[in-house]
Amino acid sequence: MSGVYLSTENQPFCKGCGHTLVGRAIEKALGNLDNLDTLDLVVVTDIGCIGIIDKQFKSHTVHGLHGRSVALATGISMGLSDPSKKIIVFIGDGGATIGLHHILEAAHLNINMTVLVHNNMLYGMTGGQPSGLTPQGFKTLTMPDGRMDHGTDLCQLVHSAGAAYARRLYAMGDISETLEEAFKVDGFSLVEAVEFCPSHGIKFNPGKKLHELTDEAGLLPILLENNKPPHISAEKVDGESLFTSVKEIDAEFSHNLDGRISLILAGSAGEGVQSAAELLAIAAMSCGLSVTKKGSYPVTVGVGFSLSELIISTEEIDFTGISRIDAALVTSIDGLKKGLAKIENMTDGTLYLDTSLEAPETAAKVEQKDYRKPMGPRSASLLLAANFVKETGFIPMEAFYKALAASRISKAIPREKLEKALEELN
């Protein structure tokens, strides 16, 4: 017959298939809900025999990929964010195996939807292979002696994940009341309807009845509930423009740079290398110079080297690569190792190196000072950057101090402390 929500006659399933029975029960269960309009229903279908039920429905239908329908429905449910819309997912035990994680995630979030798992204990459309839900002892095309271990207990899993409602039943008789109960759940509900595939299940398990198989495997009816509020959409007011919080830097100082300089700051993680490089960049910008800065560090950012590349130029910088550096500011052995290739490639310029380190082979002039001592290793890069500005004079020290004052570093290291450390250094 042609129902309100779906056509229950001529369902596209094999004779005797439980899918047809569930289809009829759904029409009845939906009709028992309070004034559910056909267009308040969104049906999301998976791949597999049950997936083609979408064409029977008069509601909205979305037909997706194998195993992914619950994740797709999660997006739809959150996108609509409308409790008056009923979202029902049709998925088989094969799809539930492939997309188990999606089901657990939706259960965990308690997304508003009902997932109908048609568990006929095998992949039917492809010839009867076992799924993760195939029960112990059940014979399939590729497991002719029967499954040796236990199948996944989906209801227990989704219950543990936090589903408001999980129920397993046999797809026999009129199950519409149970489906109606599941549809009325506020949040995530899952009904696992255990069926016996009339084409492949019977072929590989001749003479067996559904109850015999499920009883032997312990695949018994169950109802599990959690008292948990449904997921609420996380939509908020538009965030403010990402440009609002960006600091504009006034070009208030002059500089003595002719052309561009390229340099590296290299040290150890946690010793302020990136912060010092950023301070140097901002100080240069406050003199009207263009800059680029790149950071490089191991995947585990808290240990090992930390290296920053800086280009400072009187012209706009388009290409941000550095072929040859003019200066290397190195404060630790980690940094020296990381920057070694560039340092060895220097043809002139200066290598500023902590005294604790042995100078490598390089054509650069080497200048060594005890940068790690006056303010400790964690501020060695900052001290070296400040000293670099002081010695080269390419920008005024005032520009560096102003950048420092505007940064978070100044709380721990105010200008006076840095000035004293610079004196101590020399």
């Binding site: 008069k58 992914r68 999660t74 996108g79 990402l242 790149k294 560090y297 910088i317």
Partner: protein, 371 residues
């Protein structure tokens, strides 16, 4: 000498997210992956809805669900994430769901080096769909592009009912640069219109441009059917009927027929130049600098920076035909876009500057041109 312009020290991830949201991006579905993490971080401050997805497949499925419901979703990833998304990207393409996927390239194969830039996913993106159906792909070559092309991606996705890629690289989105934000103009949000006729809604019935009207699922007025499998205009599954095959043909037609609306490139042509330097994305800065230097030395060299990578623009092929020599600079091993433009046989006068693990330098391009 002092430049008085007020500049800020920023990265281009900020520009990409700002441009995307201004144009109409509504939902960011994210998960952590280097070097796309800044895009996720900025999104959490800027997008109206930000959703942490448990994995990459869920990301694309959540996005498809949001898109089907009428929201505009965006995500950002790198190759390892993209690899897991591909089946679902095909689904979104077939379903004709608007969305933007930002792909920040890093050096592969496999997980490769997360913090090393690359341009190694070009061949994959160009043929990401089974059947070879193109997905519009934009590739920013400057900071400004990162802002404007991200917005163009939203516009194109909506206008063509399709996923759109913004293809970039670690070097572009993680490098800090002094940049004058006042040079960027505010972006008008893309106006979305839903099917509004009283006649039955046919979800895959195209307009004259090959694009079907859109209506979100959940509409109180019309039934909406969406499917990833081969289908007719009503989204009914078909094997290979005439109508279903015509629908598939249309998926290519709509991209190519409307191509002039999203053709982005910079073509700096020099009359009587023998050589064309061709580049895109992060390698284009080296190409620009090389061409500037070559011209200072009196060399006649044209420059083409491609910004719409897919579908391939006929303008690129024409520019190539008009030059005896073409030097294609791209940061991958064998010249992936060069192969797309000229095939494995190549063409006389076509050569590539390629490398992995570092940026191509202007000097390398200059040397090749001067050979």
């Amino acid at each position: 000498m002092t430049n008085t312009a007020k500049k800020s020290l920023i990265d281009a991830s900020r520009l990409m997210i700002e441009g995307t949201v201004q144009a109409g991006g509504q939902v960011f579905v994210g998960y952590p992956i280097t070097p796309a993490n800044l895009l996720y971080s900025y999104s959490s401050k800027r997008f109206p809805t930000v959703l942490p997805a448990p994995d990459e497949i869920s990301t694309l499925q959540f996005m498809s669900g949001f898109s089907a419901a009428g929201k505009f979703p965006v995500t950002a990833t790198s190759f390892p994430g993209l690899a897991l998304m591909i089946e679902s990207i095909g689904m979104a393409f077939m379903m004709e769901l608007p969305m933007v996927i930002m792909l920040v390239q890093r050096m592969g194969p496999s997980t490769g080096t997360a913090t090393c830039g690359a341009q190694g996913d070009i061949g994959l993106i160009g043929n990401i769909n089974s059947g070879g159906y193109p997905i519009p792909t934009f590739c920013p070559s400057t900071f400004e592009d990162c802002y404007t092309l991200s917005a163009e991606a939203v516009k194109t996705a909506i206008e063509l009912r399709t996923p759109v890629f913004v293809l970039t690289s670690k070097e572009m989105v993680m490098t800090l640069k002094s940049f004058d934000l006042s040079t960027l103009k505010p972006i008008e949000p893309v106006k979305r219109t839903w099917y509004s006729s009283e006649e039955k809604f046919v979800p895959y019935k195209p307009d004259a441009n090959g694009v079907p009207d859109f209506l979100p699922v959940g509409s109180p007025d019309h039934q909406v059917r969406i499917t990833a499998s081969t289908h007719d205009q009503n989204a009914a599954l078909q094997h290979s009927t005439k109508e279903a095959l015509a629908n598939i043909e249309r998926l290519r037609f709509k991209m190519e027929h409307n191509l002039s609306g999203y053709s982005h490139y910079d073509y700096d042509k020099v009359d009587n130049a023998d050589t064309l330097v061709f580049s895109y994305g992060i390698s284009s800065a080296a190409a620009r600098e090389a061409v500037t230097n070559l011209r200072k030395d009196g060399k006649k060299v044209s420059l083409l920076v491609a910004k719409t990578l897919f579908p391939v623009l006929p303008e690129y092929l024409e520019a190539a035909r008009n030059h005896k020599r073409v030097v294609v600079a791209e940061e991958n091993q064998r010249g992936q876009y060069r192969e797309i433009l000229f095939g494995l046989n190549g063409r006389d006068g076509v050569s590539g500057i390629n490398c992995i693990g570092r940026l191509i330098t202007p000097g390398e391009i200059e040397e090749e041109v001067c050979k």
